[in-house]
Amino acid sequence: MGGFNLTKKYRIVDVDAHYIDDPRGLWKYLDEPWRTRIRDWGGKYYHPANGGLVSDSTMGGRFKPNYLTKQLNEEQGINDEILGVSSSEENVKRVMDHLDIETIVMIPTYLLHVGNMNDKSLAIALSNAHADYMLENVANPSKGIYCALPVPAQNPAAAKALIDRVGDHPGICSILIVTEHPVPPLGSDFYDPIYEAAIRHNLPVICHGSFSGPDSNTYIHGLEKWVESHSLDFMIGNMAQLTSIVMQGVLERFPGLKFIFQEAGIFYIPMIMYRLDTEYMRRRSEVPILKKLPSEYIKEMYFGTQPIEIPSKIDHLKYVFEMIDAENTLMYASDYPHYDWDHPSVITKLPFLTQQAKQKILGDNARNAFRFNEL
């Protein structure tokens, strides 16, 4: 099984790929008492990596997360445990080479729970240990492997301290805040210490969902099916946080701070642009800090493409691209190895894009948005 030979045409950056992190191994990076607590974490399986607490997200095995990695490993006779609890720099590089990805941004899987940890000291301990683990074992700018830094946003002072401690490491290209259920929403000045630290270290802010399913974390309690909750949750989270960030004037308070919203597709973007513009026209006096329309702020943000919606009438997608200035706002995201990942061909095959636009979406916009510093 060969690669896809895309590097002859495009230099691809994948802005949202997931490392299958196992928190139990982080004890080596912790001080007591968390060192003992995490080392002695009981139970074989802390959490199913597919996100479903009590029900099956893979539809009886109809989709198989990590399938491409298993295929590539089998081809090379590599026996690596890929039960959702392990990964490695080598596995990451193998998939990058196969998909012709030059640069990759590693987002955690388990540690996306950081935003939902009511135990703030747990969130602080694990996010610090995760950063140390990733920088020691995975981040490798010379091979194009960078890491986003998930921060414990529920304690902005601790998050700021983490950013100040590791934010200048060349293996860090962004900070990450989870979009599901942050209280208060991310536009509040509660988070100003985080935004101040991010901009000081020249780091953008990734806003990313955590887990979604009818049995956990869903915004709309009572939804019964995966097809219901997974359709909505990350999109609702992104829309809520984007609304708060725009309307609270974060981009006026922190000019130049870059926001990157991920993993909710792209069709919601024009909807929220025009919805917020309509409301703002009536309520300008409530938010005089805004100096332009909300949609203009939104078009200064960046959006990961995955899971991109491809309608049967491709012109509908073309219209969305036009509405959101996609050539300058979108960044290709795979979300590999999660089960709704997108192959780079979702962009390369779009008939209405110029080669220049494809290259911008596939890589150039990411090189503008992220801090990629090769060693």
Partner: protein
Amino acid sequence: MKQHILCASDELIAGTGRVFEIGNRSIGIFNINEKYYALRNRCPHQGGPLCESELFYRIEAEVSEGKIREFVPSEKDAIACPWHGIEFDVTTGVCLSKKEWKVATYTVFKNSDGYLVVEIPE
């Protein structure tokens, strides 16, 4: 059309499938209750290895007396692309969730010597 001998029929037991590389095509062959089906091993969604799927039951439903009745037919005749789980009818190549998608299908049969033979356009 050109015929290609694949394997002895007893090497593909009922309820299973296998992928064969024939020229520049990758073809999946499935045995459903001793009837054979051949499909192109390429998902129209994003090019995934569709025929590396196992056979699944096609879970169906109907409205009966005002309520949804779900049922499972007696034979497994669906496959699902391992990349994203999109299901296809093995017997027709038609996508179960988006009927306008259809995977190429080919004639496959057991010859008089007990070998599976597939017919592929040249």
